[in-house]
Amino acid sequence: MLCITGLPLIFHHEIDEFLYEETKATAIIPGRPLASLDVIEKNALAVLPGAFIQFLLWDRDEPEALLVSIAKSPDADFRDNRDLRMDVTTGAYLDEPDIRGRLTYVLLRLHTEMFLGLPGKLFLGVMGVLFLIAVVSGVVVYGPAMRKMSFGTIRKGRSKLAKWFDVHNLLGAVTILWVLVVGSTGVLNTCADLLIKAWQYGQLAEMVGEHGGRPRPAKLASVEAAVATARARLPNMTPSFVAYPGSVFSSRSHYAIFMRGNEPVTSRLLKPVLIDASDGSFTDTRDMPWYVQTLLLSQPLHFGDYGGTPLKIVWAVLDVFTIMVLVTGLYLSGKRRSARVRRPERVLGVERVGEA
C-alpha cells in the first residue's frame, strides 16, 4: 500500500502542474525590486478580511510566488488554513490553489495516515518497522537460498514457483539498500510531529526566554523589516518561511523567520531567527537541535526530490521493483504454506538451511 501510493507521490509536483492550472506569476528579473512583504500581506488580507496570517512560505520550485497561509485566529490549527498564492514581484493576489481537493493530497493522506490522524500515522510507523525487519530477514535467508546459483539467475522451464522465487531474490538484492534507506527515513518521518513538539517545548521555549508569557501585540511590527533583519543576521542564508506570532512555529509575541542554506545539503537545514513582533528588534537565533536536523536531512532521502527528474525516475523504477518483491514474496509465502507438507525445497529447487 505504501509503495503504491508512494509511486505517484514521487512525481507530485509534475502531476499537480499537469492536472491543475495555476495563474502564472511574473518572472523574476534580476535587479528588478520585489514587492515589499508588507504590501503582499495587505493584499492577501484584502482577499480574506478579518482573518490572520500564520505563515509566509517560499516554494523552492517556484520562487516567483509566495504562499500566504491564513487562519481564522492567530493560533488556530494550521491544517484548516487557506493558502493564497501571491506574486512576489507585483505583490498581487494570484489564486487560491485548492490543495486539499487534489489527487496528490488524497494520496499523501493515504500514504502518511490513511485518513485516521495520529493513530493512522503511528500504525504506519509500526508497519514500517515490521517491513524493515522483514527486509533484514530476507537478507539472512538469501545466503542459504542462493548457494547453488549465481547472481541474477532466473531459471527457465522450471516451475512458476521457482521463477518467482528467482525474481524475488534478484530484485530484492538490487533494491536492498534503497529500500532500507527509504523505509527507515519514512519511519523517521512518522515521528515528525513528535520531534517538532520536542523542539517547541525545548529550544523554542529557551529562545523566547522571559518573553514567553507576553500576549500577542495588538499591532505587529513590519514583516518586511523583520525578514530584512533576519537576512542581515544570516547573510549567507535565504528565508524559507515566516511563522507569525501565535502560530505553532513561534511564540505569541515573535516572528520566527526560518532561514535555509544555499548549498544542496544546507538548503534542507533550517535556522530560526526570532524577531520581537512588537518593535521589530532581534531576539535570538540558534541552529536547530540534532533531532530536527536529522529529520530535515532524512526527508529528501525519502522523497527522492533532490536530484532532478532522472533521480525521480530511478526512484520510481526501484519502487516498482520493491512492489514486485512484495508481490512475489506474498505469493511464495502463500504457496509455501500450502505446500509445506510436500517438501517445498523440492519445488523451489534449493536446499533449505534452517527455517527460511
Binding site: 541474477g152 538484492a173 538490487v174 539498500l177 534503497w178 544542496p264 533532490y306 536530484g307 530511478v314
Partner: protein
C-alpha cells in the same frame, strides 16, 4: 561459512554482488545530496545502475 560441498558457493561468493550493488547505491544516494550538476549526474548513474542490473536480468528471462 567455508566451501561446503561441490557446486555450492561460499558466503562471500553469494553476497559479493549484492554487497557491491548496495555500496554503489549508497554512493548514489549520497552524491545527489552533495551538490548539483556533476554530483546529480553521478548520482543518476550510480543509483540507476542497480535498476539497470535488475532490468537486464529480467529481460534475459524473456
Amino acid at each position: 561459512m567455508p566451501r561446503t560441498r561441490q557446486g555450492t558457493h561460499t558466503v562471500w561468493a553469494v553476497y559479493r554482488w549484492p554487497v557491491v550493488i548496495a555500496a554503489i547505491s549508497a554512493l548514489g544516494l549520497t552524491f545527489a545530496l552533495l551538490g548539483d550538476g556533476f554530483w546529480d549526474a553521478a548520482s543518476w548513474l550510480l543509483l540507476g545502475s542497480p535498476a539497470l542490473v535488475g532490468l537486464h536480468f529480467l529481460a534475459r528471462r524473456a
